[in-house]
């Protein structure tokens, strides 16, 4: 018998019931093949010897007793570093359906212990707030039936592309084109854009797969999809390839990768789709980019011009910036000039009550080619948990406010607004995107959704996985470890990218057809939107329906 006093427990001791995910293991099905323990990205499970008491009853001697047997079983580690992250790779590889994680229905105590060694909790993913979003609740309620014949989504011709880049007021356009003056560049693109995820955050295979898929959409299907790099540049061969025209190059506060880009300019075969200047990100407003040391591989280090294996935190602001006026003046004009004024340049900011101030500044700058507002539900490869959970502004009302501000000035066609952050969070990507478009967006950026749809990202808003920051992505999407990213076949990713965009295109038609819209993207068609929440309806200035 062990005395109670000598039982060891420390302040940080946990049992498996205190963890967010509990491994369920069926001894009777397990063949001890060891695949689960080999695949587990966090080494949360291990094989171990256990002793089991087997009751023994000798009927003839009328004696009760015990026997003990030893067996090899699988057990779950309970320290924070090795807690189960719920990715479910164990069940994916198990030949006998003998193992798998289940969400702990109880409150999990591990949350109080993430700050080991004084390090606040950092992770990847997005705001862990499951459930229906405001965008999910919006329905398209102005149906054309008899007043106007409904269109045949399958056979009718639809114009669903959007414009990226500064648009002049018609009077000014005519005057400038007649006198041969500079007219700001614009691009006709598909309104669902693959949002900025850096070469560094994503694995080389993931990046290649995305690019292949995007090229196929453009060149074979005629869907002009574009994708944005995050901070960290672009592989040198892509910069010198004809695929560059499908890429929005991002410049962020660390300026990583721009040495390579600038050097490649004279050798570029075509212009990039656009330049995105990142001032803020919905998932972590006020923070710069963060590429943790785990992911700074030899290739990434070369691209970014840094040593291998060091953390790469970008500053929260651009070093040259003193004020927004200066930012607009210096950065937008400099970037425009670098590409001969042939490429639209636009800033990306995090959703904020101050977004209108930024917008109004851009309206007055003839070089600003748009504004991307990234809401609080945006994803990220790495950030502090508190930033993701609690900092930022949901995109719907923020975008709507900005759009109505442009409408009040009569400038709604001049600065295209793009929205991001939570588009497709619950899988309703087309519905979410079109709701934002009808609230006033010219298009939307999708990041997390495309990882989930095109590469099988396992992350969710119950804290599942969320380890993009540490480079151990079990699917090889956000890892720089070849052993992991070779699991991801770029051709398969490309196929899924194409499937996804074909699906979105069909769904767009299925929404636009009953609304009687086919001639142009229904930007700002707020009369077609309804929501079953009176307060939200009032705030978004759309119909309240119930």
């Amino acid at each position: 018998m062990v005395s109670v006093r000598s039982l060891y427990t420390s302040p940080g001791s946990l049992t498996y019931h205190d963890l967010p995910w509990v491994i369920h293991h069926r001894e009777d099905r397990c063949t001890l093949c060891g695949q689960c323990t080999a695949v587990c990205p966090v080494n949360a499970i291990y094989l171990t010897y256990r002793r089991q008491r087997v009751p023994k009853l000798d009927v003839l001697k009328k004696k009760r007793g015990n026997e003990y047997r030893h067996f090899v079983g699988i057990r779950q580690k309970t320290d924070i570093a090795h807690r189960c992250i719920g990715c479910g790779m164990c069940s994916m590889v198990c030949p006998n359906e003998a193992i798998g994680p289940e969400p702990n229905q109880n409150e999990n105590r591990s949350h109080f212990l993430h700050n080991q060694k004084g390090e606040a909790y950092k992770r990847g993913g997005r705001r862990n707030m499951p459930g229906t979003t405001i965008l999910d609740r919006i329905s398209f309620d102005r149906i054309s039936m008899l007043t106007d014949p409904a269109l045949d989504a399958g056979r009718h011709e639809f114009n669903y592309n959007t414009v990226l880049g500064r648009v002049l007021p018609p009077e000014e356009f005519l005057q400038k084109s007649a006198s041969g003056e500079w007219v700001p560049p614009t691009r006709e693109v598909f309104p669902f854009i693959i949002g900025s995820m850096s070469f560094g955050a994503l694995s080389p295979n993931m990046w290649l797969g995305l690019l292949q898929g995007v090229a196929y959409c453009n060149e074979v299907l005629g869907i002009p999809v574009v994708m944005a790099t995050g901070e960290g540049g672009c592989p040198p061969w892509v910069l010198r390839s004809p695929f560059l025209k499908y890429i929005i190059l991002q410049i962020a506060s660390g300026y990583f990768g721009w040495d390579e880009i600038i050097r490649a300019i004279p050798e570029m075969q075509c212009d990039p789709a656009a330049i995105e200047i990142k001032y803020g990100q919905g998932a972590k407003p006020g923070d710069g980019g963060l590429l943790m040391w785990f992911k700074v591989s030899k290739l990434i280090a070369r691209l970014r011009g840094v040593p291998e294996g060091v953390d790469l935190p970008s500053p929260p602001v651009h070093q040259t910036l003193y004020s927004i006026e200066e930012s607009v003046m210096k950065m937008i004009q400099t970037m425009s000039m670098a590409f001969g004024f042939r490429v639209p340049v636009y800033p990306k900011i995090s959703g904020s009550t101050s977004a209108k101030a930024v917008l109004n500044n851009l309206v007055r700058n003839p070089y600003a080619g748009g504004l991307l507002i990234d809401g609080i539900d945006g994803g990220t490869g790495a950030a502090y948990d508190v930033s993701m959970q609690a900092t930022g502004h949901p995109v719907a009302s923020n975008l709507r406010e900005c759009y109505l501000d442009l409408v009040a000035q009569g400038r709604q066609n001049e600065i295209p607004l793009f929205a991001a952050g939570g588009v497709g969070k619950n899988g309703n990507v087309t519905q979410n995107g079109l709701a934002l478009i009808m609230l006033g967006a010219s298009g939307v950026h999708i990041g997390k959704y495309i990882m989930q749809a095109a590469a099988g990202c396992l992350g969710n808003e119950l804290g599942r996985c969320n380890v993009c920051n540490t480079g151990i992505c079990p699917k090889g999407i956000t890892s720089q470890n070849e052993k992991l990213f070779r699991r991801l076949d770029p051709d398969d990713v490309a196929q899924r990218v194409v499937d996804t965009f074909m699906g979105i295109r069909t769904e767009m038609k299925k929404v636009m057809a009953p609304l009687g819209r086919s001639q142009s993207l229904p930007i700002g068609m707020s009369d077609a939107l309804g929501i079953d929440d009176a307060d939200a309806a009032k705030r978004l200035k759309i119909n309240y329906i119930c």
Binding site: S144, P170, A178, Q519, G524
Partner: protein, 381 residues
């Protein structure tokens, strides 16, 4: 779906003729409104002079009529003639509305001979809008449709022939060279006199059948232009008038470009268009004015040019036919039959999605212009 009829002839004719054509197409409207616009007006007992303008509207009360008269006087307009309709009591249902007086008054403008045409037109528009506002400020007791040298506008809720009979339009006292009429099928918006087509702004007028589902974004964009008269929008079709005004008067582009603004060609089509580069830029700059029909748009301009354009879907009917000297446009073939019976129906034309049909003021022949054809742009300044 509303019914449309337009006739343009060298010899002035009675508007009642067009109402008869409306009767031929009567399945298509529900009596929720009739709009009539007469251009190139001739009064039997008064001769219009170049410095005369005609005010059309409805004074709903005696006080409103008096206020209107005072208002025009204060603005320096001198009353020259008042056309009194030979009202046949009891024909128009008036039990639920106040119709003290259907106003058609000719005024001599103030001394504007040193003003440019543009300034004169602007003054007329400003006066009309001020008068309309005056009515709205007084509980809507005054409705003003148009104020223009040779244009008379009549709008009333009811069946076309009933309204024509009630106002005695068959008496031949008022005739015109161009008459456009619309019998309204109320779809979305409330029955309102201002919601009846044809809509009028600064000499330009359009009427439409069908529904424009891109109404709200277009309306918001037009309102943002801050151009006097871009207001009202009781009907989703009013934007067609204002877009035509914007294209021809504000942007000063040729009439053909209207079609490129409301229904631009696709990128692949513009890639092979002789003016593709310019038109792509124009499409982007005017993106918020792209309509989403189905609609047939019939328009008339101050010089008596008439125009018919289809939307991109081409899901609404419209036919044009006639002979030198008399042409008709109507939403239904039977309407054209009723308007110009002595024509060769084999030469009738139904425009497709790319067409703009123009009846020039000389009325010798129809111009059928395709969007795929080039047009002449004014040279760079």
């Amino acid at each position: 779906m509303c019914r449309l009829a337009l006739k343009s002839a060298d010899t002035p004719f009675s508007p009642y003729e067009v109402l008869t054509a409306m009767e031929a197409m009567q399945e298509g409207y529900d009596g929720s409104g009739l709009g009539l616009l007469l251009r190139g007006v001739k009064f039997e007992d008064f001769k219009l002079k170049p410095n005369h303008v005609i005010l059309s509207g409805i004074a709903h009360t005696e006080a409103a009529l008096q206020r209107m008269a005072d208002f025009m006087g204060e603005y320096g307009f001198e009353l020259k003639y008042q056309h009194d309709f030979e009202m046949r009591p009891g024909v128009i249902e008036t039990w639920d509305r106040d119709r003290y007086k259907y106003v058609v008054r000719v005024y001599k403008t103030p001394d504007w001979k040193y003003l440019s045409t543009e300034q004169r037109e602007f003054n007329l528009t400003e006066t009309r809008l001020a008068l309309r506002k005056n009515g709205e400020d007084h509980g809507g007791d005054l409705t003003v449709f148009s104020l223009w040298p040779d244009v008379v506008t009549i709008k009333e809720v009811g069946w076309p022939l009933q309204v024509g009979d009630g106002l005695g339009l068959d008496d031949g006292r008022i005739k015109a060279r161009v008459v456009m009429a619309q019998g309204r099928q109320n779809t979305n918006y409330g029955i309102n006199l201002y919601a009846c087509h044809p809509f009028f702004i600064q000499g330009i007028s359009t009427m439409t059948n069908g529904e424009n589902t891109a109404f709200i974004p277009i309306k918001e964009y037009l309102e943002g232009r801050e151009i006097p008269g871009y207001m009202g929008y009781h009907s989703d079709s009013e934007v067609f008038t204002h877009i035509l005004h914007y294209v021809t008067k504000v942007l000063k582009l040729p009439l053909e470009v209207y079609k490129h603004v409301i229904t631009p060609l696709k990128s692949e089509e513009l890639d092979v268009h002789p003016q593709g580069e310019f038109l792509k830029g124009l499409r982007t700059a005017c993106r918020r004015l792209i309509i989403d029909g189905p609609n047939a748009v019939i328009a008339t301009l101050p010089d008596e040019t008439c125009m018919l354009a289809m939307d991109q879907k081409k899901l609404r009917p419209a036919t044009v036919g006639g002979r030198p000297g008399a042409w008709a446009m109507a939403s239904e073939m039977c309407g054209v039959d009723a308007l110009v019976p002595d024509r060769d129906p084999a030469l009738d034309f139904q425009p497709m999605r790319e067409h703009t049909v123009i009846i020039p003021p000389e009325r010798k022949e129809l111009l059928i212009w395709s969007q795929f054809d080039p047009f002449t742009l004014p040279q760079a300044a």
